[in-house]
Symmetry: C2
Subunit: 378 residues, 2 copies
């Protein structure tokens, strides 16, 4: 049975320590969920993902709906069994992926008609079907189908879009059959505080869900807008439910938004950057293809406890990357995921110690962090 | 120190049980060496390769010479340390890769001038440099630079080519400095028994090496020619040295050639086929993309003890393959390498039991094997 325990509120900030309990195990919050888009955290076996410290992963309903199909996953015993992952899984609703299709989708009150990015075939997803799919997948936390408000959008556009999301949220809750699986509502409203406030009122007070996500951010708006909306919206959400900032983000964004009271994050940054040879360390961001690593015998990060840092030199990692070896992606992903998991461990420890604000300030003003924020990876 | 122990000769066939001892550990023969072309068995961490039962791997001098460069590998402590593989390594001489470059190479008495397949840069490798490179890499077994005789080639062409290989073999042995590393000679001679005989005489009696390889096969000649030359040449080689059939092969070829007295094999078949979704099992060869596996809950091979077969359905493996997921290559490679390692275990057990001929006949006449031989993978 799903349950959220708020264990501690940091006296120095808005940060919270909590625990999500599911039938597949417990998740300590603040949590970062590595993304398993198509039913695999790209390049890693699930045992490795778990050993790196991941307690919950995110899988994409849109992708699994198209391939292999949710009936197949259901027939094979659900997503946990299918992908050999015994711990909790959160599935998104597919709303964001469909939004990303741009011209390939058409939204009505009923739902979304869209064309598959794989073969152009036409599909229709309604709020009801999104729940049916996620119930078939058997995830521990499901998300309501929402409309991700575009950026930029006028107040009127954002208001209209929000009305749809609120309507869909009602329908999602009404259709949900299963008490084993939690259902989260999503707060939309674009960059308009009034709309965000209206969304919180309706989603959390009038309807009520097992947890609340802030959606529609990181879709092109300036970083300050994102942080401003997140900081404004988070404290309005009920204390006794987890708060999930969808699709965020960089280490700096995570550290910042934990202070607002966010409990859950997901992002493709660690895994996607790893595949492109962009590596996070406690001292710098490393672009592994750079010639300076050519004969560098040192590990990526001498302070990191991951398998990659314990066993391989930067020179070897550069060689694998330049030679386009699959193992480059495996070893880089191991490191980046571990970096994010270790960051979450540090965040939770700081909250436990009641010193989160201090941790945050130190992390964000660290000259290495500051340098890394200015350095583009490309 | 390198040593070969011939432990047992099968009374029913030409098969032999042996052990190669190196400073990096022991290798039970007959052995199959997975190929680590660029210093990695593609997609796998070395611990996985070892857990699958691999006792020795093969790395390609040509590839490592071009990238990252042998001086860099040497500076970083040699290939074992560079790639985190503690067990024995055999390096080829680069001769076969250079041969494969076709129009991009020019051979003289001195050595080979060739253009890099990566950037077109011009390079020269002599027999002496091939040894210097392999000494820098620090492999346990080095190979002499040879000229792979083309197929087809006239007797005169093959004779001329062989003369070069014999000359280079002398120069290779003369330049070798290091007693920690073994050096193998290569028997060329095309499809001409007289030339193969002459090569054996010169390479094994007049010069003498730590082991002997049969080269120049599997280069386009009909399978019967390959088997005929291998069966004719192998018994001529000295009993007290390992015999290595380079670049072979399929499970059927391996089972056949062990009967001739071959002790060592290498081939990209298990790893390359895996990446293309072509999987060996004890019952059939599986093309994982086929629609029949779409919702098949059964493992690839219910009798296989590998990680992939213990944890994943054919449906999941098909999904990963169709979705072009990196994990498809990882899981498929684990299975195929394990299939080959298990085959070698069965081969060694049959020799130990003195029943190799029986094993071979049963393996080759098994209706499943027979079916698989007729079935093209494509």
């Amino acid at each position: 049975m799903y349950q959220f325990k708020l264990l501690r509120k940091d006296p120095s900030s808005g940060a919270r320590l909590g625990r999500i309990c599911t039938t597949h195990g417990e998740v300590n919050t603040p949590v970062f969920m590595p993304v398993a888009t198509q039913g695999t955290v790209k390049s890693l076996i699930p045992e490795t993902v778990q050993n790196l410290g991941a307690e919950m992963i995110l899988a994409n309903t849109y992708h699994l709906y198209l391939r292999p199909g949710y009936e197949i996953v259901k027939k094979l015993g659900g997503l946990h069994k299918f992908m050999n992952w015994g711990a909790p899984i959160l599935t998104d609703s597919g709303g964001f992926q469909v939004y990303s299709l741009g011209a390939l989708r058409k939204i009505s009150d009923d739902g979304v008609i869209f064309k598959s990015h794989i073969d152009g075939s036409k599909h229709f997803i309604s709020p009801e079907l999104a729940i049916e799919i996620q119930e078939a997948l058997g995830s521990d936390i499901m998300m309501c189908l929402d409309e991700c408000t575009a950026y930029p959008a006028s107040f009127r556009e954002a208001e209209k879009s929000l009305a749809l999301t609120l309507n869909w949220a009602r329908r999602s809750k009404a259709i949900k059959k299963n008490n084993e699986q939690a259902l989260f509502g999503i707060i939309q409203g674009g960059i308009y505080p009034d709309l965000r406030l209206r969304a919180v009122e309706d989603i959390s007070k009038n309807i009520g869900f097992d947890g609340y996500a802030i959606g529609g951010l990181s879709v092109g708006e300036p970083k300050e807008e994102m942080l401003s909306i997140a900081s404004l919206t988070t404290p309005l959400l009920p204390d006794d439910r987890p708060r999930y900032l969808m699709g965020v983000g960089t280490p700096e964004d995570i550290v910042t938004c934990v202070d607002y009271g966010i409990d859950m994050f997901d992002c493709v940054i660690p895994t996607r950057c790893a595949r492109h040879g962009l590596l996070f360390t406690n001292h710098e961001k490393v672009v592994i293809k750079h010639a300076q690593h050519r004969d560098d015998d040192s590990p990526l990060d001498g302070t990191c406890d991951c398998y990659t840092c314990r066993n391989y030199s930067r020179a070897y990692l550069r060689h694998l990357y330049m030679a386009k070896e699959i193992l480059a992606m495996v070893l880089n992903t191991i490191h980046n995921v571990r970096y994010f998991m270790h960051l979450m461990e540090r965040i939770r420890a700081a909250i436990r110690d009641g010193k989160y604000r201090e941790f945050k300030n130190s992390f964000l003003t660290d000259p290495n962090t500051a340098i890394s924020q200015q350095t583009s990876f490309e």
